[in-house]
């Protein structure tokens, strides 16, 4: 028995009204329902802040055409203007409005984060589930090996190499390449968890209840992995946002749209520092940092799910 207070939970108030003869049956515990995963996440102050900031970014991305004062690709303004009422953050060397670029840039980051993260999580889930459920067989051996190889290959050099061959670099290419290079860590985690879950008696008892293999995986085991999947998604999305920005800084971004990474690339390439256009450099970097901060804060909440030791903070 541990000294955690959990030992004392799950007991109901003694029902005083029962007589001695009525003792044979216990009553059900009162409201000691453990929190659901979203409640646990929301209970963390940091996670709440993170979710609010993320919400603001989403609104900014969705309503970018309404919020932004100008077309981000309109190069008809006087270049190198300092911030003003007309150009909140000034204009760049190509005569484009920096504030508008910043607002539209959120779209690429969020899209890549959402879809890159989701796709990577989906791959991780499939590989992890199959590999874990077939543990000890040749299928698992092969999948585990592939996972471990994918894990040790450094992601960014591989992404760069893959992207470099392509002439047109749309957002979806970037999403796809980020996803197929970054699923491995999560897959390994899911494999480990499914192995623990699979050996739990409730899985054996599901077999005794006549359940099919697919139902056991998807109806018995999967619902127990929610927290891991959520954590995996947040982590993958954060990684994807960073990777997209990194690619863009190397000049490998989507050439037809504006992202914070492409802004930084151009700012660096066209000597923004030397020309005193600090907003051009600082604004996209800070916008990225704040987005990633929000996601890391959300991850604090998610960490509480998988690591109850941290909950007392």
């Amino acid at each position: 028995m541990s000294t955690t207070p959990n030992d004392f939970m799950a007991e109901g108030e003694p029902d005083q009204s029962r007589s001695v003869e009525g003792l044979a049956v216990e009553q059900v515990g009162s409201a000691t329902t453990p929190d659901r995963w979203w409640q646990v996440i929301w209970s963390s102050k940091k996670a709440r802040v993170g979710l609010v900031i993320l919400g603001i970014y989403v609104l900014m991305a969705v309503f970018a055409p309404l919020i932004a004062p100008h077309d981000p690709l309109d190069g008809s303004f006087t270049p190198l203007q300092q911030p003003s009422g007309e150009h909140w953050l000034g204009t760049n060397t190509n005569g484009r409005d920096i504030a508008s670029q910043l607002i539209f840039g959120s779209r690429v980051s969020l899209l890549v984060g959402l879809f890159g993260g989701a796709l990577a999580t989906a791959i991780a889930l499939v590989v992890g589930l199959v590999s874990g459920y077939t543990e000890g067989t040749i299928v698992d051996d092969v999948l585990s090996f592939v996972t471990n190889v994918a894990l040790v290959i450094p992601a960014l050099p591989l992404i760069i190499t893959l992207v470099a061959y392509s002439d047109t670099r749309g957002v979806w290419l970037i999403v796809g390449i980020i996803a197929i290079t970054s699923w491995a860590g999560a897959a390994r985690g899911k494999r480990a968890q499914i192995i623990t879950l699979r050996n739990r008696d409730f899985v054996t008892s599901a077999k005794f209840s006549g359940e099919s293999g697919a139902r056991i995986i998807f109806s018995e085991i999967m619902p127990n992995m929610n927290s891991l999947v959520v954590a995996g998604f947040v982590g993958a999305a954060t990684g994807a946002v960073g990777a997209e920005a990194g690619l863009a800084v190397l000049g490998l971004g989507d050439t037809r749209s504006v992202s914070w990474g492409t802004m930084l690339y151009q700012a660096d390439a066209q000597g923004a520092i030397q020309q005193g256009l600090l907003t051009w450099i600082f604004a996209p970097g800070l916008a990225l940092a704040l987005l990633i901060t929000a996601m890391s804060f959300i991850n604090f909440g998610v960490d509480l799910l998988s690591n109850p030791h941290l909950r007392e903070d």
């Binding site: 450094p154 190397l250 520092i273 941290l310």
Partner: protein
Amino acid sequence: MRYFLRKLGFFVGTLWAVVTLNFLIPRIQPGDPAELMVRRLQGKDSQLDAAQVRAMRSMLGTPDGSLWSQYWDYLGDLLHGNFGVSYTYYPFKVSEVIGQAIWWTVGLVVVTQIISFAIGMVLGAYAAWRRNTKLDATITIGSTFVGTLQPFWIALVLVYVFGYSLGWFPTSGGYSASTPGWNAAFIEEVISYSTLPALTLLIVTPIGWILGMRNTMIMNLGEDYIRLAKAKGLSDRTVALRYAARNALLPSVTGFALALGGVLGGTILVETVFDYPGLGRLMGEAVQNKDYPLLQTLMLLTTTGVLVANLIADLLYGVLDPRARRAEG
């Protein structure tokens, strides 16, 4: 012993997989990257010799010959260090170009990573030991915040502050006037030019170690052997170092090599910003110029580097954790 053999086996297997992946990437591309390279090189120099064309083809693929025989040629070329010629640095061979750049990156990464790891372990362990104090909060929140900044952006800010505004350090290149060699003037220049790239990496890379170490350490502090060590009346120092930190260190050791992959990614970007003459800048240039032989070789090289680091970390883990050596396959 079995543990070490298994790890060695995994290394060989992964190395094979990576070499093969490197073989396949250019071959699954639409079009004919090799043909493209040859034609562009011929544009530079019509005297391109047959051996170089052949090397290029074995690296990037050829329309004739079975995939199988191409694979053998490719493996043979790799063994002989024959990676073709670089388009960017023509007429230099890829091996020569890389041979120039590699020490810059190795020096930068090795020095900064050893320091980063040490900083991370110490701060992480200390924050966990002083859990829920102001100091812990400062370390944790500070790291989390810095961790959200992108390495290339930090590099740009450092360029602005220390290079452009204060003018303390050079912001671009690896050395300037002096001749490369073991002379005082050159070494001084290298240090001065490397300061800002190194500083960028030293800001970015300890973060993961700090937070990771703090988490594992906190988990370890809940273990019975820690409670028993406290009950034994051992000094805080002994409990914290010999019992808690010693155990909490283990996951970080295995994590080291994996993290190195991430560090290399960051290094590429940082080198690009500082125009630092290492592998990262080469990779940036290779991408810009579609210099596929150089790109493929760099990819192979960095991956192999991470694999070797991974092997070393695994072997070290086997020495540090007696349970690992016994764990069955």
